[in-house]
């Protein structure tokens, strides 16, 4: 196939065979991954599971990993990262599930929940991510989900339901109300039929936020388990503190879905995007990603909150400030995440 394509490229030069193949079907693109929406299942008015058929098989992903999804909104391409919510496959697969919650901001999530329909083409980045079940791991797992943070955990639980010897799993599922909990019927079904799985629901509008004593009541053996936690930043910060206090940080795995950027005072500088021959003012509190996009640079981007590393580009010179922590860093040729770093002085990026 590659051979045929490289021969074909002789005839299409300077265009690529892709440029002609996509005339026939956008899914024939060889240089990028695309998929078609097969079906959409609405859970609540604000969340849906999108089933995607990818144009070609993707390597078997691990439960807890995420993909980049790109859509054109008013003709401008936007990217966001979503956890895969289906069970991890054993072989390469062409079917991916993402469970999406609308945020009301008019972005990719809202589009997928409110406007997308079966047959639509999605631009995709293949699965990646470190928040995964470890092989031959612990005997007992404690999972804590906050709101839409359920999605990677859902993938893990679904994967475990089809393994031979699943560990003991206790899922604490917190959401504002019961109506906001996706896949609740399925999870209750597991709890009723699978002896290794326990489900505790927590409605934060009624019960308030989970605190440390509540946790100890719900799961007295929490210190013996390996914990997987995914949810809003405030929840993760609290959880991180409890485990740190118990000196059990190495038993805690966290996936952060919303990032609170620390706005810091500073000078900023001029950002030079050398490969694109563009320069722009880069304020101290604006991510270099949006600075570049505003200047018309084709910036790689993904989650925009510092998780997925799709937006990484090499820093040629200068220093950047991590907007989450305020830390100033940057060595020549250091790959930096542009979505959570702002210019700390004049910077040059190789993009």
């Amino acid at each position: 196939m590659t051979r045929i394509l490289s021969l074909a490229q002789r005839l299409t030069s300077p265009l690529l065979p892709d440029d002609y193949l996509t005339l026939i079907d956008p899914l024939l693109a060889q240089n990028s991954l695309r998929g078609r929406i097969v079906s959409i299942e609405s859970h609540t008015t604000r969340s849906s599971t999108i089933v995607i058929h990818t144009a070609r098989p993707v390597p078997p992903f691990q439960a807890g990993q995420h993909i980049g999804v790109g859509v054109d909104l008013n003709a401008v391409r936007h990217w966001r990262t979503f956890s895969l919510s289906g069970a991890a496959p054993l072989r390469p697969t062409q079917t991916l599930h993402v469970t999406v919650k609308a945020t009301g901001s008019g972005g990719v999530s809202d589009h997928l929940v409110n406007h997308a329909k079966p047959g639509d083409i999605l631009f995709l980045e293949p699965p990646t991510g470190e928040f995964t079940l470890t092989e031959g791991g612990a005997e007992s797992l404690l999972m804590i989900a906050g709101g839409s943070g359920i999605t990677p955990l859902l993938s893990m639980i679904r994967t475990l339901t089809v393994t031979d010897t699943p560990p003991y799993v206790h899922l604490i599922y917190s959401a504002t109300t019961r109506d906001d909990m996706v896949a609740l019927a399925e999870l209750r079904d597991y709890a009723n039929t699978m002896p290794w799985f326990k489900l505790t629901r927590w409605e934060s509008t009624v019960q308030g936020r989970i605190d440390q004593s509540a946790l100890a009541q719900i799961e007295p053996d929490w210190k013996d388990a390996v914990a997987y936690v995914c949810g809003p930043a405030a929840m993760l910060t609290a959880v991180d503190g409890w485990w740190r206090e118990a000196r059990l940080s190495d038993q805690l795995k966290i996936e952060q879905f919303q990032t609170q950027l620390v706005v810091v005072d500073g000078e900023g500088g001029t950002a030079t995007f050398s490969a694109s021959s563009r320069t722009s003012d880069a304020p101290a509190n604006e991510p270099l990603l949006t600075v570049g996009e505003a200047a018309g640079v084709l910036m790689p981007s993904g989650c925009r909150i510092g998780i997925c590393h799709t937006c990484v580009v090499p820093l040629k010179s200068g220093k950047v400030r991590d907007l989450r922590t305020g830390r100033v860093h940057g060595e020549p040729d250091e790959p930096i995440q542009t979505c959570i770093n702002a210019a700390a002085c004049d910077v040059e990026l190789d993009v």
């Binding site: 265009l15 440029d19 391409r77 490969a275 021959s277 018309g296 084709l298």
Partner: protein
């Protein structure tokens, strides 16, 4: 400032005072006001870009690809004269669209706002002898930044032609009408060779003659296209091989002559003005706009003509806003013209025949030294 028409008169009176300020008799406030008005036109368009614009460029891209495929396919039977003519026409049209409305404009970044990597200035490559990277440097930077500044904008005569009497006369200018015919026929090679040679001359310590080195770097870019047009597709045509080769050559020449014509009519008709480096030193944004206005000329025509010229028939609007999508120049043009009318600024435009005639007439006139021209009373 001098125009090609009143140049002779000034020459006779005082040829030390060739250049006035860009701003003529406008006040600083008026220049700022013009700048603000033009900025507002840009902001209006930018905030209005959306689905319709995206649909336009994607449709053009599809049209180009279908034209290219049908042209190449028709030429498989190019041994039959009707197929040769039809195939050559389709292919030439495809190549013109690809170079002008697609390549030129996409590489200007006119469509970068869509963030589609397939239609982006940083990824686009075109069917031309000069590589996208080199062209963007010499065109987007040197030509658009330094429009019509003699000694800076290499497009002012491409080092070969004398297009304004502000340029010194050389002996080889005597033959410049013939030179320009050759440049028109092989425009893509002329431009790329010129740029490549200038680049190589800069590398003073590199071994070998700069022109040989330029040829070598040029070959790196043109090789795939030469193989495609003159080896691969003729071979695929089997019995039609020789006629497909001549058809491809003809299509390339048609493309070259067309792009040459449009580009020359954009900057070299009468009434277009040229500048010196001293004149523009420290110019403001408003003055930069004025220089773009006075250094460019439009060509009047139908919507199809505008598309086939890559909307470079709206050369003035393109020079004011090089990175606004080309499909918007037509709606901007009346607004720009109104500003020109209000402030008494020139807005050079005319049909293709007239503009083209002026270009060739000036070239012929300027091929003579100024003192000879004066004695013969030939205006340029």
């Amino acid at each position: 400032m001098i125009t090609a028409t009143d140049e002779l008169m000034i020459d006779l009176t005082d040829d030390r005072e060739l250049h006035a300020a860009i701003t003529r008799d406008l006040t600083a406030e008026q220049v700022d006001e013009i700048g603000r008005r033009l900025d507002a036109i840009r902001a209006d368009i930018e905030s209005d870009l959306g689905e319709d614009d995206a649909a336009y460029i994607r449709r053009l891209i599809r049209i180009h690809r279908y034209l290219e495929i049908s042209g190449r396919a028709t030429l498989m039977a190019s041994i039959l004269p009707p197929a040769w003519f039809a195939g050559t026409g389709l292919l030439a049209t495809a190549k013109i669209l690809e170079n002008m409305e697609l390549g030129h404009n996409i590489m200007h970044g006119q469509w970068d706002w869509m963030r589609d990597p397939a239609i982006h200035s940083s990824t686009w490559e075109w069917d031309n002898a000069i590589s996208a990277v080199d062209w963007k440097q010499s065109h987007n930077d040197m030509h658009h930044m330094w429009t019509n500044v003699i000694g800076k904008d290499k497009d002012v005569g491409y080092g070969r032609l004398r297009v304004t009497s502000d340029q010194e006369w050389r002996k080889d200018h005597l033959f410049q009408v013939g030179t320009n015919v050759l440049i028109a026929l092989f425009f893509e090679y002329g431009i790329s060779m010129y740029d490549a040679t200038l680049e190589e001359i800069k590398k003073t310590d590199a071994p070998g003659h700069p022109r040989i080195r330029a040829l070598r770097s040029l070959w790196g870019k043109v090789k795939p296209q030469v193989i495609k047009d003159y080896v691969a597709f003729p071979l695929l045509s089997g019995i039609s091989a020789p006629t497909t080769l001549t058809a491809n050559f003809t299509a390339n020449v048609i493309r070259n002559v067309w792009t040459h014509t449009i580009i020359f009519c954009g900057h070299f008709p009468d009434d277009v003005e040229y500048f010196t480096e001293e004149e523009i030193e420290g110019e403001s944004k408003g003055e930069w706009y004025l220089r773009q206005l006075m250094g460019s000329a439009n060509i009047e025509g139908s919507p199809l003509f505008h598309t086939m010229s890559g909307n470079l028939s709206h050369q003035i609007e393109h020079h004011l806003f090089p990175d606004l999508p080309s499909n918007r120049y037509a709606e901007i043009a009346p607004q720009v013209r109104e500003i020109c009318l209000e402030f008494g600024l020139p807005y050079t435009t005319g049909p293709l025949g007239k503009q083209s005639f002026e270009v060739w007439r000036s070239l012929a006139a300027l091929s003579l030294p100024d003192d000879v021209r004066e004695r013969l009373r030939i205006a340029s």
